[in-house]
Assembly symmetry: D3
């Protein structure tokens, strides 16, 4: 099978990923492995005193779930993706907590040629929503993708 | 103890975090929990055919370790931090693999007042380096921090 | 100490394993590592719309707990077991959810000699029950076991 | 989107899943959670004395990876799958060790109507191979799948 | 930066660590990795019949959290610590369960010179408390610490 | 089945546990969950500069594996154990690293009656050895055990 090439991405293309429920296991394990230290992530007694009332998933980990959900989306063929080049304008709007179920809307918003004739850059706008249809995080992802030979 | 306030952050302030070795356990667990699907992350036989020669840590997970190392840095008092507002200009330069040891240089690069008189935004430039002193990821982090009452 | 030999297994022998409570950590971690994708396992909002009302443990993972509980049963001496040869007639009757406590009744149901004079095959019927005494999974396990020298 | 119905499965249909490298993290974590006790799985010094020379992944866990890889295969639309009914004739031929990369060939081998007019059973033959193209495990999986309304 | 030397520890010095909420993920994972077998740790139905009413964290794992919280305390500079030599008089008073939030009060209670002129032993009394201010575990920790050159 | 009572423990009784290989997964996960911060546990570059040459398992986690191996020992019936009361005289002699295989020799060394006529205290001397037959940790464990009615 041939990969999906840069030329086959069109500005305005959209797809939506599957959904995943974030569990307390996700939060505990990844907060611990990454050594997050803010009490909002590790101290439930502190978290009870905040507006959120519970420990939350660190924002960058929400972005990490967004990438994973995007990569594993049935609606997307990642076969031409060479690597991630950049991440821009991530905006953290609503925190994700244990029990929340999220998915991501992905839209192709820009295409850029590079010096290398065999690769181009595609920018995707990602909008992550929870089960209440609230936008939790927005981000722009820049991927390097193979061009047609 | 009183928190470290917005007013006490100065542009040009710098500190360096402790170091952490990224293990295959980190990669396997977090790639799996976040459902990363690209063969670069889950298929060692594929990875052997790439310029890197081995499975790598997804870039956003490197950014996640950067936040965790920053939060738990002995050199930084996070007591006034209310939350993360944004993440900008993340540039992925060198991949992180199992066995690499990383730390982060953090510099205060901008301060912005907000409508709320009790909080301000501070932008930090993060430069993550590996054990060969290569810059692996750069990113800008915007945190909301308490102002003096 | 000498191993427990093929000759020492008798058809009709029975024992019961210890019990283990299946936790959300078990489900989240193993579903993620094995890359189960059905929303029944990863999407709590979907699961709420089903007859079960909650995410469940994939059936094969219940079988995996059944083998582990069987191996670590105080009532069984596994010292003569060389390896697993087959698994037959697994029937999935009731799903296992976080908070359920399971154990396994194990009965020796068949013995077969092989071409190799130093080993034989023993078939065990496993019946896994939950805390309500419901049969959740039945399976037949075929193990290769050392024969007396 | 409508689900893929029972009527749309044809005997002889085949697809192949993505690949996944089994890591020592997979083995350690799942062996521990499931309480496997045989020294082949937990005692490297014992394992060195066997023909395999190293700790191995328990066979049922290989079957679990086979289901996960099957569910998350790009080539398969699981939208009509209601649940797993049975698992038959699993044969364990070659053990899987840390560093092995596996995938699964899946073939539709039987279709059975049931009393319920809205569901049917489909049997899939799964053949799991490692990076040396050796067959490691074969199994037959019976799924309940929605029928056309 | 120079390390904090043996000579800089004074009997009667005290500090308090940050707090950490113990989760069911902590209990399930560490109980499984360490192979704890008592039903108090793995069988919720049994645990319901005890005075505690729920599975608990094994006492030695509470001590392990106590060491980790002590090492990562903002209030303590561990730079001169060479290693742990002993652990004494651990007393288990109240069990820790999922959802409890603990921290540790650490007091320097003894200093001992050794034959090696470059190292000394410092004994710390650790008192671990939960969110109800109950003492859950006490222990004495003996660390080897660098002396001034 | 009736529990094994206090009266059935005899000073001088000995047994040896099964063996377990400590993996890098064990070290990474438990060090992270417990927040151990010393570079000996999280920074491989630092560890290379020490006499050990590699990251090690924190001593208290070795003690935790010792308890788990003791509880799950085939040679020991824990049915009468009510709880752990104390841990004394733990001496850390040789560090445990990834790949080491440990087991524990357990000897009954003291029995003490308590005010409660239905329970007594039994002290066990635990000697943990690695695959080179080196003593890595010694400790004394005090358990509360049911007395005969």
């Amino acid at each position: 099978m041939r990969p999906r090439y840069f030329e086959e991405y069109n500005i305005g293309d959209k797809f939506t990923t599957q959904k995943r429920t974030i569990t307390d296991t996700d939060i505990t394990l990844m907060v611990s492995l990454c050594q997050y230290a803010h009490p909002m992530f590790v101290d439930e007694e502190f978290a009870k005193t905040t507006v959120f009332g519970r420990r939350i998933l660190p924002g960058v980990l929400t972005v990490s779930f967004m990438q994973g959900l995007t990569e594993s989306a049935n609606a997307w063929d990642i076969s031409g993706v060479v690597g991630m080049v950049g991440l821009n304008n991530a905006k953290f709007k609503v925190p994700v907590m244990a029990g929340d179920t999220i998915n991501v809307e992905v839209e192709t918003v820009a295409k850029t040629e590079t010096k290398r004739p065999d690769r181009g850059l595609v920018t995707f706008k990602q909008t992550c929503k929870n089960q209440k249809d609230e936008v939790v995080v927005e981000a722009e992802l820049i991927l390097m993708i193979l061009r047609k030979p």
